[in-house]
Subunit: 923 residues, 2 copies
């Protein structure tokens, strides 16, 4: 292949920091850091184009010219560092790293200390006067190169390393003497010889070429391919990996050397304070591996005051340049600070919110950037329940608070099991000694993660924070036995399936399910959401069924109730028997009698809601579910009757006995009472009546059955009672000077005629109530749009309805012909896995199908009634991408569960700021 | 009210025969007949405007000027007839009839002989010399006027009439002497006096005014209002009734007088031959009432040859003018023929078809008129089953063949009961002595009608023919006892609920259900349908699952199979066990083993279909229903297992016994075999396996569950087997030189990705089959459109699918969120009654909702694939109004059950001829 016209290699000072597709994220970053004057070890990048050309070549040859350029850049490095590659007194060592346009943590391999061989090792030892350092670097290089470039399995090296430690009788690496490490190196060379059938390559240029090819090859490795598939990384997003060749600097050259990682702000709290950890006289991997316990970065101020000043300066430069919290790696080599890497810091939601607000106030971010910087979905972390602080139970164990939030679930000890149970709908907590990238599917399936090893920067902690799932890491008191599916904590045993609760905010682990309370708002969140509100076009309401719900919704910033499900009120224990009476009624008179008893209860419910929500609107949906849902199941009734009949038989027997005994005066009175069968007769009779009704009401497809407005028209007295309760409650409030805005909404509507009939009920009741109470009772009248036909008839419905509210739960079922209950258990996971559907359409609005239908209904509805108010009250109303779509088709408001209101408020602002085109994958 | 500028009254020679809204149908008709020179008795029409003005007046006064005009027209009548109204030697008598723009048979009342009083009666008797005629006319007038104009109940008159007959000792009216009739008249006058508190009005002008007002009032009578509601007659279609005042002519003035009804062609067969009945010396109502048995009109040729010639001339004029078969009434008064009325003849479908064809061939109709004159829905009559001619059972009774077709059902003896049972889904035959307009709801609910009295022009016969329901009339052997809910036939008793069968084509009545055979085609129908085909744009296919179905479809003129439901093949008794094996399989290997056994069976099925249908296309739908539908119900399995377990217990006991007996040699071998429990064990084990599977497959909403392509993707081996069976069958046919056009269709599709997956299965199998069989096997690949989302994604689906076929059964369920099984039993009848839905959307395509969705899908689909072939295979594909709509949105074909294919062919021609606008009420 003739490719001489292309440039394959860029020195850091020459590369364009914005061109990640060419240089990879890490390479571009190194170029950028170099460009802005940070002390980056000199190096260069081999482009992703070289990678692709290499991979296209069937014989896997590097494109012509690549190695020539590499050699020229090595010469340049020698010049810059004054060292020599593969020789001289001061040998030049380099690291070789992969780096593609998208960050793929843990997926690509790195080789350190490349350039060592017997000669340069001797020179290094001479130069540093540190035999231990030399042999340690040597054995590290052999193992990494052996593993990454030559495919020698890790355990082959580990066995030899353990053998030497065993021989010497030590447990920690640092206790090995230089000679022991030399022994390790020698053994490693043999391992390589054994596994590859060839001696370890001693020519540094050959080492370099092999390493470059190995990095390129790793792009097509199984782990990388799997990762790209899992996270749907397309060639447009990242195509090939670059290779970064960087001069080695050493944090393990003595006590004036160190290595560490830092965040420009505290990633756990967002506090504006440098945060990080370092280890003196250590290599970077020692920090990540968690073998030695690192020191907080603040201690550096005492230990190396001048360096600390440089780090603070570094931090300020990074934030000013990147306008984002940075997560950076540094090394101090003999008193010189090098910045090795920087990237945007991964933070939990609370920290994102706080840093957004503070960085705006510091002038680093515009207000729009501050708002859009926070992913609305991540707010869940802050808004979902914490453990009830009044809970005084004894923690079973305590670990590190690695990802905030609390969760309960069955303990499971491996990711496959977590996935299997999770798919069955079980809530599980994944409990591991530590986690690895291959456990990722277990994270997806779990409510939370508990590990017995590792710190806040461990794999488990980082991944859990990224996913917004609670995590307790390094709970050392717990011993996990994966084989036996058990965990031991002191003398206690957690079996698989035992329910445990973890609190990722304080690191505590409890046996059983611990009650939780809702989160409260940080001042930063309150401020950010206020900014969001001022940018939004969409209003945000809450779905709320009780005054408590309503009060909570107000606290979360809802501007009204978009959905009050009146049937939830029917299910309260004091009401259900009355509701059952209403259902088993044989005449409309009996039914009305039961309804008369429900009326004052519902009226009080609504009055409570109106008061809590004043002066915002409250949308009340009339009875929706099929009425048989309020009855026990047929099977349960049959069982009850069988049991009671048996009991009655027993009681009858006892009666005979009692009678006999009574004459003898031997039986106590209580037993005689028990033997009373009349009471049992009555109970049986009622159960039988309910059973008859349940059988009569049985439906083949209850989702598509006799429900919603169909019930309202069959039994006008039910809807009339509900409407009366709404209007009387409103009238009472109005007379008490409370500003109420009731809105009555009819469910399951498919024709304008249905709406007209219900509007007629309302008109009659309204007239009556206004006369009785002596006040005007304004009330809006609208319809749910949850039946497909309602969309098709939107013009006609809009002639009757003053507002539409999309019920996207049912609309999604009808649009897909998927019964949610059946689909989610039977075939939806399979559909997601095979890529037929990217998301669960019951969680993420299917904009292509359901959304298209909604857009038609909005347009047609507004054609008949310009300015028609349109909202959404399905679960999608709280989902950010779905909210974005709702904004784009011109909805007026979204309504969602109270804890999702802040998410919706932020998402609404995103929609307004980022424009109509939803960039989510669902779009 | 000042209305002097209006003209309220038109003489027959002045009225515009086309202006039915003003003159009413009857009035316009009389004007028209007069205009074309028929001998119509002179008369005039009082307009519907007069009616409306009268009804608007709160005091119910006739508008100013009406009576003045009436009097002027009466004067003119006197002049034309030479008679005098209310006096003279030759008194003028008139009839007063209602008549609105829409024909409402039997709903309005008529008064005859108006103008009689004691004076004119005497003059009439003098003039005619016929006392009997005079008193008969008098008593008829008093009763009609009393009932219609004065509200005296009929039975009050009937009682007196019976009393006179009892006194005289006769049973038939004609046996009464003139004096007896005079006695009847006197008694009737007293009845009127008693009931109204006033003497019978003797002033003919007063009589006339009262009669006019009575006719007007009847427009707002309960019967009329009910009728208009029932048949949805809006004010735009008919608003108010006119009053027709016509000179009386008398068919009962002696043996040179007669009265009769005629059809220009035989309404039962369509034969081109005058058809009718007459009674000598009788009034018209005697013919209709069926009291005397009329003579066939052909006898008139002998009895009054000259009149007969006039009648034949009348018939020819009528047909030439109206270009339609006419049903006319005539009276011969002393040798003069008068034509009293004519209207389009009501005919059964066979007659309509025959007359259409013949009238076109005679040059009376264009071909388009001949086609559109026949209501496609009425073809049902010809196409639905007749009694199996090989059935040799003895008829229980025989009546007149009053409306063709055969039907079985439970006997019911009143209309309310028929309606109640019919609503519960029972098939009923309404059995009555005779029927009346108030029985109409019973007709709607019944499969057929049986009466013991009345002829082919009786109410029962006319109404049944109009509805296309079988009717046997005047089965005199049957005595109906409504009170006891019994009918007696000789010594036999039919109880309510006993199943009977009637054959309206030959008048026979059978006990029990008699087997039926399908209709065969008349030559006229074959000709008409051929004409229809030449006018149609839409193709017509049949839904057929077996070679027999396919052969029948060909006979009915289908041009292909639009839907072959492969699951129906699974249900055959020899296959179901294999299907169950497939379902209970735990591994895909076991499943494949069962499928391997099904493959040759399905292959043979398809080969049979292809042969039967060659060279037309055959669309095969892959497995659609949820697989649990092939299993017994859980309850049945539980019962079976309980029963078998008990049996096993018994068998075990018997084994012990057997063992004991065997040693004695006393038990026969068969009993020992029976006692074998191992077989029972195996059966129980299998039932338990099926039960486990049934429970695992249970769904909350099976309609929206794991079915169709969702199954096909979960178990690729099922679809792959079916596809292989199709392609191998096609390959076999191709090698045998048979022209096959297989089309594979995927059900329940909601994403293009599903289609792509199945297309991939097909591609793989196709390649393999073509190699194995050595022939190219062309096969189209398409999708059902029965999920709403499929409509919304039509562009994308059309990229993969070569054709669409709307499954409007499921699409209707999803669009309405109505489960058909639940809706039709629970709330749909109520929705129809309350006018929320005019039709059952599962029978008549809901063009406003489902149709709009279809139109979008067609447009979007063709945007992606111009010329995309689109059909419909839901039940609506055989419904005329729905077919009309399908034509209007550009579908290529409809597919329906074989017996409906001719209906669809005719409807398709109607659509093409009558244009895109569907005029059906569903539109």
């Amino acid at each position: 292949m003739k490719t001489t016209e292309r440039k394959w290699v860029y020195a850091f000072e020459d590369g364009d920091g914005r061109n990640k597709m060419l240089l990879g994220g890490k390479g571009a970053n190194l170029c950028e850091m170099t460009r802005i004057g940070l002390n980056v070890p000199p190096g260069f990048v081999i482009t992703t184009e070289a990678c692709l050309s290499y991979l296209e070549d069937s014989q896997r040859r590097l494109p012509e010219g690549v190695m020539d350029e590499v050699r020229a850049h090595m010469k340049a490095l020698e010049k810059k560092t004054g060292k020599r590659f593969g020789g001289g007194d001061d040998p030049l060592l380099v690291s070789v790293r992969s780096g593609s346009a998208m960050s793929m943590p843990g997926m690509m391999d790195t080789i350190l200390n490349l350039g060592l061989n017997e000669t340069t090792l001797a020179a290094l030892i001479r130069r540093t006067g540190n035999e231990r350092f030399g042999y340690d670097a040597w054995r590290r290089f052999i193992q990494l190169f052996g593993k990454v470039a030559l495919g020698v399995p890790d355990h082959a090296f580990d066995e030899q390393f353990e053998a030497v430690k065993a021989r010497v009788g030590v447990k920690q690496d640092v206790l090995l003497a230089p000679d022991d490490l030399r022994d390790v190196g020698d053994r490693f060379l043999k391992v390589v010889q054994q596994h590859t059938g060839r001696p370890f390559p001693s020519d540094p240029h050959e080492q370099l070429e092999i390493a470059i090819k190995a990095v390129f090859n790793s792009w097509m490795g199984k782990r990388a391919i799997d990762y790209r598939r899992e996270f749907r990384i397309t060639p447009k997003m990242a195509n090939g990996t670059a290779v970064n060749v960087v001069t080695m600097v050493f944090g393990n050259m003595g006590n004036d050397s160190a290595t560490g990682v830092g965040f420009t702000r505290n990633p756990a709290t967002g506090e504006n304070q440098i945060y990080g950890e370092y280890l003196t006289n250590a290599q970077g991997e020692d920090v990540v591996a968690g073998i030695r316990t690192p020191k907080p970065i603040s201690e550096l101020a005492t230990e190396m005051p001048e360096i600390y000043t440089q780090i603070v300066d570094l931090r300020n430069r990074l934030e000013r340049h990147y306008r984002e919290v940075q997560d950076f790696e540094f090394t101090i080599e003999k008193g010189t600070l090098y910045c090795l890497q920087t990237r945007n810091g991964k933070m939990n939601a609370a920290s994102m919110v706080r840093t957004s607000v503070e960085m705006h106030e510091e002038g680093l971010l515009t207000r729009e950037d501050a708002i859009t910087r926070v992913n609305p979905a991540h707010l869940e972390q802050m808004l979902f329940p914490r453990l009830d602080p009044r809970h005084k139970g004894q923690a079973l164990a305590t670990g590190l608070p690695a990802s905030p939030g609390a969760a309960s679930g069955q303990a499971v000890f491996d990711a496959d099991r977590a996935e299997a149970l999770g798919r069955q709908g079980a809530k599980v907590i994944l409990v591991r000694e530590e986690t690895k990238p291959e456990d990722i599917h277990g994270f997806f399936a779990s409510q939370g993660i508990l590990t017995s090893r590792g710190g806040k920067t461990s794999h488990a902690a980082v991944v859990a924070r990224g996913m917004g799932k609670p995590c307790v890491a390094g709970a050392e008191g717990i011993h996990v036995d994966v084989g036996a599916r058990l965990a031991f904590v002191g003398d206690q045993v957690i079996k698989e399936g035992d329910v445990i609760t973890i609190d990722g905010s304080n690191g505590q682990v409890f046996r059983g399910e611990v009650p939780t309370v809702e989160a409260d708002f940080s001042p930063a969140l309150v401020k950010l959401l206020a900014w969001a509100d001022s940018h939004s076009r969409l209003g945000v309401r809450a779905n709320a069924d009780t005054p408590d719900d309503a009060a909570r919704a107000i606290r979360y910033g809802a501007k009204g109730i978009g959905l009050c499900r009146t049937e939830r009120m029917f299910n309260a224990p004091d009401r259900l028997p009355v509701v059952v009476d209403m259902i088993v009624a044989d005449t409309s008179e009996q039914r009305r009698e039961a309804l008369d008893r429900l009326l004052p209860i519902q009226r009080a419910d609504f009055a409570g809601l109106f008061k809590a929500m004043a002066p915002h609107p409250v949308t009340i949906r009339l009875l929706d579910p099929p009425i048989h849902e309020f009855l026990p199941t047929e099977r349960q009734l049959e069982d009850d009757i069988a049991r009671l009949t048996e009991l009655r038989g027993a009681a009858r027997g006892m009666e005979v006995l009692t009678e006999a005994a009574r004459s003898d005066g031997k039986l106590p009175a209580t037993l005689r009472d028990l033997a009373e069968t009349r009471l049992i007769d009555a109970v049986i009779a009622r159960k039988e009546a309910i059973l008859r009704k349940a059988r009569a009401l049985r439906e083949v497809n209850p989702m598509l059955g006799h429900r919603g407005v169909r019930l309202g028209i069959t039994y006008p007295e039910i809807y009339t009672m509900q409407i009366r309760a709404v209007l009387e409650a409103a009238a009472n409030c109005i007379r008490a000077g409370i500003d109420v805005q009731p809105e009555i909404m009819v469910p399951q509507v498919c024709t304008a005629q249905e709406l007209r009939l219900v509007r007629d009920y309302m008109g009659a009741v309204q007239k009556e109530v206004e006369v009785t109470y002596g006040v005007a009772v304004p009330c809006k009248f609208g319809t749910m749009i949850e039946v497909v036909r309602a969309c098709m008839r939107a013009e006609n419905l809009a002639e009757v309805a003053e507002f539409f509210s999309f019920g996207t739960n049912d609309l999604t079922q009808a649009t897909f012909s998927f019964s949610r209950e059946d689909a989610e258990n039977k075939f939806l996971p399979m559909y997601n896995e095979r890529g037929i559907l990217q998301d669960n359409p019951f969680e993420v609005l299917d904009v292509k199908g359901v959304g298209r239908l909604m857009a038609l209904a909005v347009d047609w509805g507004r054609a008949a009634r310009p300015g028609l108010k349109v909202g959404i009250c399905g679960e999608h109303g709280g989902h950010p991408a779905s909210i974005r779509y709702c904004d784009s088709i011109g909805l007026d408001y979204v309504s969602c569960s109270a804890p999702r209101v802040p998410i919706a408020r932020l998402a609404a602002a995103h929609a307004a700021i980022l424009g109509a085109v939803a960039t989510d994958k669902a779009a």
